[in-house]
């Protein structure tokens, strides 16, 4: 069976889009072939900067029988129209069509059936490809050339130059002929822009296509180009006593920039190595798409040698290219050095920053303090609905000061960290490389003589960033990290920008997971709800300030406010506050339940038993560490002898209650000892009462293990009760009382855990 080869040859496609475009092309072509009744065995896709190629193997030559219905003219139409329709569907008489009613127009019209026997594959392909190309799912596409003034102008990612489309077997090769705009499909492709003579290359089928392209210095397979880049880069580094710093993403990107990768090594002046290595690496990677290296055995410091990937084998073996690249890189590093130094210098016009400096108690003699003052002064927006970065820093600071004593952090250092935490957003380096936020703040803080913990915490308050990122352990970092994340979560929850299954643009899941990991791994026993409430209070304070005016206007036009207009604003503020508070509480509960769902996933990954988690977690739980302690204690306890026995007791009690509930048996509301008729009842009752008192105390002291073990005191009494006492006594009063006793037992147990989840 023949193979289909399609190549769309264009001007350079952005590297980041090539893979997806090739996948889309393969998907669309194969889908359309199948839809048209063709089959194929295998499909492959390739891409280079200038071409998207699909190679579809074993395509059937003829389509299976397909019936197509085509709507014709109305039954009232003239003879010429009807005849034209008959010709179009290939029928000789109108009686061979159906008549169908159009439900909308109430009109009757003809339907012609065309049975397409064995339509040729070439025909189908020639028919579907123009449609696919014209409607290709580029996110952004363009028009070009003289034809671009017509509305039907072809759009592509960059100008499309030629289309190669072949349908070939081992012996034969046919061009599938179609035309899109000025481009007519052909059997021609072109080689490397610089290293081939750029004359048309005539192709028969995939096998010679691949070979001829390689002769014309094009490596078709992006995976192979990437392998060549990485392998050659490693070897070249190694031969110079260097270690390549591997970078998969960069290799993938560079593979999309060249058709014929050639690895070369360049060098920059050693003096630039005083710039922090993160900045060097990003400068070289982002701007120059080059790899950095380290001396063999070196852990942190970079070497001043870098690896570049050229697209040509130059006449002088790349000497000129290396000189050029090194020079550009040095200029870039000189820029980076300039930014790095500028960030350590005073800003101009400090006096305009005085008000902001006061607000945050900043020392305007220090560079980072100045940057924070400017962040506030310029009213840089955090989020349109959540106000500025300045107000956010105010909130983070206030909240962190509340958290500090809870986890034993020095309040003054926490305050200092919080006010400087976002200052580096105003530095030149972070403006250029946003991914260095925090890291630069840390470095600049040390340089201006901040306390080490404070400096470290400026970097670490963003952590942990993902499930594998390290969790900070210094209480100062923890306080600000928690505060930063709580403010963000509560804020986005209040404006109803919650993550959905497909979208989480503000990385709120990551923030919640961060809080969970901080609380659990750093043993922070803190209640979330009061912190949420405080965060919400701070936020609504800002929101109220911003929105009060609008609210007042709304109320003034609202008839419900009458009387003296001068008192209106005050009344309104109260009313507004109330309205907000009433709406905040359920939102915070919803946020807590979001935490619970993240916590469950996290604990399950940690190896906790699902049923133990379910037995412990109640909707009110807001101390995550305590929840885990209880789960652990419960898991340990139910493995002990007493645990197993207690569980048996619960199972029996719950079993009886459930079956009675099904029968809708009456149960007394409270237990009345006067209705006890056997001593086992009295003993059980007394044991329960005693246990209730103890357990309330233990739980109040959050001593969960002891609460659990103390439940064991019930086992004897419960077992004796079940052995000697028949619950369903004939006397109604005795029976309902005994059931009430069991209810009370279960209620006591439920205070500790929902044991029924453990059955």
């Amino acid at each position: 069976m023949p193979d289909l080869l399609l190549e769309l040859f264009s001007e350079e496609i952005p590297a980041a889009l090539q893979r997806k475009a090739a996948c889309d092309l393969e998907r669309l072509v194969t889908e359309r072939l199948i839809d048209a009744g063709l089959t194929y065995e295998m499909a492959y896709k390739y891409w280079t900067p200038c071409r998207l190629t699909v190679d579809i193997r074993g395509v059937s030559t003829k389509a299976k029988k397909i019936q197509e219905k085509r709507k014709g003219p109305s039954v009232k139409a003239s003879k010429t129209v009807i005849d034209a329709f008959l010709r179009a569907v290939g029928l000789d008489d109108i009686s061979k069509t159906e008549i169908v009613k159009d439900s909308k127009k109430g009109d009757y019209y003809y339907i012609g059936k065309i049975i397409q026997y064995e339509r040729k594959a070439q025909e189908i392909i020639a028919h579907v490809l123009p449609d696919i190309i014209r409607n290709f799912p580029w996110q952004k596409s363009m028009r070009w050339g003289a034809a671009s003034d017509k509305p039907e102008a072809l759009r592509w990612i960059r100008p499309l130059h030629s289309i190669l489309c072949l349908f070939s077997t081992n012996t034969e090769s046919d061009i599938i002929d179609f035309k899109i705009g000025d481009i007519r499909s052909s059997n021609v492709t072109y080689g490397h822009r610089f290293m081939s003579n750029r004359r048309p290359i005539i192709v028969q089928r995939f096998s010679d296509y691949l070979v001829k392209l390689e002769e014309a210095k094009v490596i078709l397979d992006a995976g192979r180009r990437k392998e060549i880049i990485l392998a050659d880069a490693r070897n070249l580094s190694c031969s110079q006593g260097l270690d390549l710093i591997e970078d998969e993403d960069l290799a993938e990107e560079v593979a999309g920039l060249v058709e014929w990768p050639v690895i070369l090594m360049g060098k920059f002046e050693e003096e630039f190595l005083i710039i922090p290595s993160e900045i060097i690496r990003l400068t070289i990677r982002t701007n120059q798409k080059c790899f950095v290296t380290r001396k063999l055995g070196e852990k942190n410091t970079l070497s001043n040698y870098f690896i570049l990937v050229s697209n040509i084998e130059a006449k002088d073996n790349g000497k000129t290219i290396v000189i050029g690249n090194s020079r550009v890189l040095c200029a870039r590093l000189a820029d980076a050095m300039y930014f790095w130094r500028t960030d350590q210098m005073p800003l101009p016009n400090l006096n305009r920053l005085a008000a902001s400096a006061d607000r945050f108690n900043l020392d305007l003699k220090k560079p980072l303090d100045q940057r924070m003052a400017r962040l506030d002064h310029l009213h840089v927006t955090f989020h349109a609905k959540l106000g500025t970065q300045g107000t956010r820093v105010e909130r983070i600071t206030a909240l962190a000061m509340i958290i500090a004593p809870l986890i034993g952090a020095n309040s003054e250092l926490v305050r200092r960290t919080a006010v400087l935490a976002k200052a580096d957003l105003q530095t030149e380096i972070v403006t250029k490389f946003p991914e260095l936020q925090g890291i630069m703040g840390h470095k600049y803080a040390l340089l201006q003589g901040e306390n080490k913990s404070v400096s470290q915490a400026i970097e670490d308050h963003y952590k942990p960033q993902g499930p594998k990122d390290a969790v900070p352990s210094d209480p100062i970092s923890i306080a600000v990290a928690l505060s930063d994340k709580i403010d963000m979560l509560v804020g986005f929850w209040l404006i109803n920008e919650k993550p959905t299954s497909s979208k989480d643009p503000y990385a709120l899941r990551r923030a919640a997971l961060g809080i969970i990991r901080l609380a659990l791994s750093q043993k922070c026993s803190i209640h979330l709800i009061p912190l949420f409430q405080k965060a919400a209070q701070l936020l609504t304070h800002h929101l109220v300030k911003d929105n009060l005016k609008i609210y007042e206007e709304r109320l003034l036009s609202d008839n419900s406010v009458k009387g003296d207009i001068s008192s209106v604003p005050l009344v309104q503020k109260e009313k507004y506050d109330k309205e907000i508070n009433a709406r905040v509480e359920p939102v915070l509960r919803d946020l807590l339940s979001f935490f619970h769902s993240r916590l469950k996933i996290y604990l399950r990954k940690e190896g906790a038993q699902q049923n133990a988690v379910d037995a412990i977690l109640t909707p009110q739980d807001d101390d995550l560490l305590q929840v885990r302690h209880r789960i652990e204690a419960l898991t340990t306890f139910i493995k002990t002898n007493n645990g197993k026995k207690l569980l048996d007791c619960v199972r029996r009690a719950v079993g009886i209650l459930n079956s009675e509930a099904k029968k809708k048996t009456m149960i007394a509301e409270i237990v009345k000892p006067i209705f006890f008729s056997q001593k086992e009842e009295t003993v059980l009752y007394d044991t329960i009462v005693k246990a209730e008192k103890k357990i309330t105390i233990y739980l109040a002291e959050e001593d969960f293990s002891i609460a659990l073990t103390s439940l064991a005191s019930l086992i004897g009494a419960v077992n004796a009760f079940f052995e000697k006492v028949l619950v369903n006594d004939q006397n109604m009063s005795i029976r309902v009382n005994r059931l009430a006793l069991l209810v009370r037992l279960c209620a006591l147990l439920a205070k500790v855990a929902d044991f029924s989840k453990l059955f």
């Binding site: 028009r143 050229s310 002088d316 290219i321 200029a331 820029d335 101009p348």
Partner: protein, 318 residues
């Protein structure tokens, strides 16, 4: 065409300009002179902004002195200038072999693709103040961005029909590379040697220092604010005065109005260099300039220069 030694792009900044001009003149471009106003880039020249609108074919090339007040470095940075030169080529509609033509121009100035690694690296060009965007590339030579290559899709918020191809060469960078110097101030400007030699530094070092002081320290921001408002007002006033009184009449006064749009844009850049514009304000200024550009673009479409060429009428007038 062989040039005398003192105009060799490898040793003369002005030689580089002459070579590019000759090359594009040979390919049918009219060689214009710089626009006589402060602009941020060659794209602001009305020969690009306005002429890329409407259906008439257009081919120009010109040098444009460009000002980026915020890039001033008091002449202390070897690569950064607040005043520099762009060489700009605009071809409407974009010819099918534009990439080849561009590579030909690199070859003409001595960047041979057998020795140099020339690359088209994705760049979605956008000018928020002009309400313009296009797709194309940064063109790299040995890792250095030497040009911007853009297929204009929209200018002044108006769809380009047909699409123009725009090439912008960063002349100082290219010259530094060709002359093999590490500082822009070391560039040989006139291609002479000995006492006749004039360097880029001789010509511009003092200017860079003075303008950096002005841009960052001395400019009167209150005055600039007022000038911005004046320019904005003047632009709309002129447009209103020249607007057609009856349907299908031509607009009578677009180019002078557009001058004030350029002026507003430059004043905005000066204000930004002083760091007195907050992020929210910044967006507001951008929108105001964009609105002016849009009004100018719309008005330009109602002028003779943007009218479809009616072959019959043209022939009869000749």
């Amino acid at each position: 065409m062989s040039l005398p030694e003192h105009l060799d792009p490898k040793r003369s900044f002005q030689g580089l300009i002459v070579t590019l001009q000759n090359y594009w003149a040979r390919h049918g471009c009219a060689i214009l002179q710089p626009y006589d106003m402060e602009v941020g880039a060659g794209t602001f020249h009305p020969a690009t902004t306005l002429r890329s609108l409407g259906p008439r074919p257009w081919k120009v090339a010109y040098v444009q002195p460009s000002r980026r007040p915020g890039d001033g470095r008091y002449s202390e940075n070897p690569n950064r200038l607040q005043h520099y030169y762009q060489f700009q080529t605009l071809l409407k509609p974009s010819p099918p072999d534009l990439q080849e033509l561009y590579l030909g121009s690199l070859w003409a100035i001595g960047l041979d693709s057998d020795l140099h690694d020339i690359r088209f690296v994705e760049d979605d060009w956008e000018s928020p103040t002009l309400g313009a965007w296009g797709l194309g590339w940064e063109c790299w030579c040995d890792g250095m961005e030497v040009s911007q290559f853009t297929y204009f899709q929209q200018i002044c918020g108006i769809e380009c029909s047909p699409v123009s191809g725009e090439l912008t060469y960063g002349l100082e960078r290219i010259a530094m590379y060709l002359q093999g110097v590490n500082s822009v101030y070391e560039l040989n400007f006139n291609g002479q040697t000995g006492s006749n030699r004039l360097s880029y530094g001789d010509m511009f070092r003092q200017a860079e220092q003075e303008y950096s002081r002005f841009n960052f320290e001395f400019s009167d921001t209150d005055l600039l604010h007022r000038h911005f408002v004046d320019a904005e007002r003047e632009c709309t006033t002129i447009l209103a005065a020249g607007s057609p009184k009856k349907p299908r009449e031509l607009h009578l006064c677009v180019l002078p109005a557009y001058d004030h749009c350029i002026k507003a844009s430059h004043i905005f850049n000066l204000l930004q260099a002083r760091g007195v514009i907050s992020v929210t304000e910044r967006q507001n200024y951008v929108l105001r300039v964009r609105n002016l550009a849009h009004q100018c673009g719309k008005a330009f479409l109602q002028t003779e220069a943007a009218a479809p060429v009616k072959v019959g009428i043209l022939e009869s007038t000749h």
